[in-house]
Amino acid sequence: MALTMDPHVLARLSAGRLVALVSGTNGKTTTTKLLAAAVGTLSGVVTNEGGANLPGGLVAALAGGSRGVPAVLEVDEGYLGMVAEVARPHVIVLLNLSRDQLDRVSEVRMQADKWRAALSRLASARVVANCDDPLVVWAAGTAGSVTWVAGGQSWRGDSAGCPSCDGHLIYDSGKWACGCGFSRPEPDAWVEDGVLRMKSSRPGFSGDDVAAWPIRLPLPGRCNLSNAAMAISAAALMGAGVKEALSAIASISEVAGRYSLVQVDGVQVRMLLAKNPAGWMELLELLEETKRPSVIAINARLADGQDPSWLWDVPFERLADRFVVASGDRCWDLAVRLTYANVPHTTVPELSRALLSTDGSSIDFAGNYTAFQDLRRYLAGRRPAVLGNTSSQTPIATSTSSPLPGIIADHPGTDPEDRSSKE
């Protein structure tokens, strides 16, 4: 890795400011953006909005901000312990843990154990943790102070066994417990019918008080309401007013291109990202709200994990009521999966053509990491042609002149925008 980091640099840049770290398998970038907006109601804020979540990216973000300004940083799961040890965060947000890129990342149970060990050495940090995810609850068990947020968990493929005793976890109406006594903590904050309810996490509240605030969030889906609840709870610990924080996040409608709407030759495309089975469980809920045609693009490059076996963990059967276009480097893996799931589909490897391969004037695009970046870069590259108002000159007609890049990410932590500028 090019940016081998001197921990002292990160320690020095973190000193003298409030630091919040956000980590987990899914929702890091979104929650970081929401939390940064919420903390921004107090003062300026330094953040790594582009998703550069490895130590080098954190150093770059911190070096670009003024001294003393609070920092809200997204951190790769594997680096959380190391970063927290030197950055001495005031708040650590733990979203969820599930299988992701198994060909290069350690087993998810092992990751939870590593978090647990790291948190035991960080007694001063206040942890905001998802009480619906048993692996997160296990990891946060050694922390000095925990605010539990009901952050939801649609994917249970990695938490059938008890992290504490290896017994069976029993799930019942949103709660879970094991015979050994390990069970879901009562949440301090939760979302009910679009209303955020919080217990005693603010100074001046007594333990029994519950306050309720309606959440107005342009970002769609249950997972983003959870991300908002995590972010607002963390912002409150950083000193932000809940009302002000909620009003700040009400203006966020896209996150690094995700959830944004773009026009491509008369087709309106909603851009969505999901990288792993847990992310797909959330995304399927979004897709099911309509029967819009979907273009799904799958790559298996280094930054995605080179083993797309996880496609078989996703219940694509749920898309059987719509038309799907399979695209991306691994479009044939997806096409085969869709056929076995009885989903009507066609296969168009080139993204640019795939978008125009449905009858729909309004479609969903869902890609995994580098497939999503491919589409963003393609859209950025064709913008001049659109402005030139002759759609026939857009590069999509010939695949040879496609601006799609040949080589992409070396790691999700590196900034995609930086990479694209090199090409």
Binding site: Q306, S309, P349
Partner: protein
């Protein structure tokens, strides 16, 4: 025509299903249904007695702890071994493959007793984990199309498995590690039992293997025609020859540096 429903049992999917291994049960059932053979998936959860009366049992991959727990349960239950001796078929992948042998390495590094369905011993390999594409040449002819003898999958394991004298390898390794033995063996085949290190949707990538398992239960099968065979062909070409991703294919070495068995890259359909 078969009257009873073909039962495909996914054994302990919550313990042995780390790499989408449930997909193998989906593939078996769909390929039966497409031929008008009634079929269903039965999930056999851990902590409960193993489902009796299954026709094909599937074991998937898993982490060390869950693997040891699954082996312990299945051994004390005993129903899997008796189902196999009663004529049921077994498809076991990765951790599931290891645990049907005589022994394997547990999470504590110690030797664990397996189900002894296969004469095979697995120990921790000397080198790094084997992670990557795995290709092998099947020991027996799996179909009319000679291409189907090339087996393709993805492996991710640290174990080395030595087969006993009475067990044949499923194939000979062309790329990757497989069993890690001197003889470049991959997997095992013995009676109606198939084991392999090709994890995840191995049967989706290798439908000839799926049909072999089905034919053991229901007899000779009609070919499946239509989209799935074309899509599977494109998938196999893309993973075996890299034609699914032409931009990268130029940059990386060919799968078979020596091009064994006279394989040639066919004109690319997948790269279109």
């Amino acid at each position: 025509m078969r009257e009873s429903v073909l039962r495909v049992v996914a054994v302990h999917p919550e313990l042995l299903g780390t790499y989408g291994d449930f997909g193998n049960a989906i593939v078996l059932v769909q390929r039966a249904l497409w031929r008008d053979i009634p079929a269903e998936i039965v999930e056999a959860k851990s902590g409960e007695p193993l489902v009796r009366g299954g026709d094909i049992y599937c074991l998937g991959g898993g982490e060390d702890g869950p693997q040891a727990r699954s082996a312990l349960e299945l051994r004390s239950d005993g129903a899997l071994a008796s189902a196999i001796s009663g004529g049921a078929a077994l498809f076991a992948v990765c951790a599931g493959f290891q645990l049907i042998g005589e022994s394997f390495t547990g999470p504590d590094g110690k030797r664990q007793q397996g189900l002894a369905i296969l004469d095979m011993r697995t120990r921790r390999g000397p080198g790094l984990r084997a992670v990557g594409e795995l290709a092998s040449f099947a020991s027996e002819d799996l179909g009319v199309d000679s291409m189907s003898r090339i087996l393709t999958g993805f492996e991710n394991h640290a174990g080395h498995s030595d087969l006993g004298a009475g067990v044949a390898p499923l194939g000979k390794v062309l790329r990757g590690v497989g069993n890690g033995s001197q003889a470049s063996e991959e997997g095992a085949i013995s009676g109606r039992v198939i084991g392999t290190y090709m994890h995840g949707p191995a049967l989706a990538r290798n439908p000839a293997l799926a049909d072999l398992l089905l034919s053991w239960i229901v007899g000779p099968l009609d070919p499946i025609e239509g989209e799935i065979e074309e899509e599977t062909g494109s998938l196999r070409e893309s993973v075996l020859f890299g034609v699914g991703d032409r931009r990268r294919a130029r940059r990386r070495r060919s799968l078979f540096s020596k091009r064994p068995f006279g394989l040639r890259r066919r004109s690319g359909v997948a790269g279109e």
